[in-house]
Symmetry: C2
Subunit: 212 residues, 2 copies
């Protein structure tokens, strides 16, 4: 199980400091939507240049113009770009087709999706990676619920990431659902000691893996 | 009726050239999502600096973290920022509340919305401006249909913008629906003579206004 470090609502300097502090415990680096909208593709290029061997996720949250936005992210150096599940089928298939051309991947963000049929449709469109996403603005109403996993069919072959205010307290319940990627933001980025927070989360995952 | 010039999938230099060429015929300037993702907030700041008196729309297409993204756009100089209608109610109300604090406005992008109840709900949340949006990736399947206007209630007080591959041919049918803002992208930006294309569209609108 991988940890994806989500860097959002941070300055460029803070992003680089956090990657440096935590890199031995994290697997994938995500540049968040707000950071992309602040700095543009230059931050994707800079992160890829400094960390060429780490998988880099550009959280583009594409809603339309799928081919153009996916190409934009991959050209800048992203290994994975995100597209919203509620966008048009054409948008999703266009991004998947561009990802194929570049030898890269799309992560389909299930934010706001409540109907398992939509997830099945997304798999039919050729997606192989989704994120179960409990939005930042929904977190006002309480923590994420593992029921989010009910969106997935029993026989789904989708690789699954999970995101939404995950911390050391909420992580154990999620581990029972065996996601492939756990996306963590503020539990690391806002911790008094980010390195230690990343180490602790990695420890929870490794201990779980050793017991199953 | 206003013309909003949508600048997307263009370099910064092309954006500035197009604004300069067309400014006497256009009312609002929109910096498109792809351009924002390429250059970040710097392009919003530069456009506002050069054109401080023109209404500047940042097509942020916010899906989550509404308060942070709206503040980001307004701080950079946007007069209007966009948020997706399919995002969580909290996301939409957070952006409206930030817009109120800054004395700015949100445009709620109805891309992908098919249920008039969602539009009513958005109006209840306090929105006063929406865009009826036939997505770029849906345009593969043919031109926008005026049925999009059926999403609006008869007694809605919403100010309405309309977007989606609008050109001199499709504009007259839309004018019967009396939108407040017509959003035009490639019909101007990809025209052999952009100034003339903008002038022509402005002429169609003025001639319609003089006959009603």
């Amino acid at each position: 199980m991988k940890i994806q470090l989500a860097l959002d609502r941070l300055s460029k300097e803070e992003c680089f400091r956090l990657i440096e502090e935590t890199e031995e415990y994290i697997d994938w680096i995500e540049i968040g939507t707000g950071v992309i909208k602040e700095y543009g593709m230059s931050i994707i290029r800079e992160v890829k240049q400094r960390y060429p061997d780490t998988t880099l996720v550009a959280d583009m949250k594409t809603c339309d113009a799928g081919a153009a936005e996916a190409a934009q992210a991959f050209e800048a150096g992203a290994d994975i770009s995100t597209v919203m599940a509620f966008s048009a089928d054409n948008t999703i298939s266009d991004t998947l087709s561009i990802a194929g051309k570049y030898g890269k991947r799309m992560m389909i963000d299930l934010l706001g999706v409540e109907d398992p049929d939509r997830v099945r449709r997304i798999e039919q469109l050729g997606a192989d990676l989704v994120s179960l996403h409990y939005g930042k603005d929904m977190q006002h109403q309480g923590a994420m619920n593992v029921n989010l996993f009910d969106l997935l069919s029993v026989n789904s072959a989708l690789e699954v990431a999970v995101a939404g205010g995950i911390n050391a307290d909420s992580l154990p319940a999620l581990l029972h659902k065996s996601p492939s990627i756990v996306i963590v933001g503020s539990a690391i980025t806002k911790a008094p000691d980010s390195k230690r927070a990343a180490e602790e989360l990695k420890g929870v995952i490794e201990s779980d893996e050793n017991h199953h």
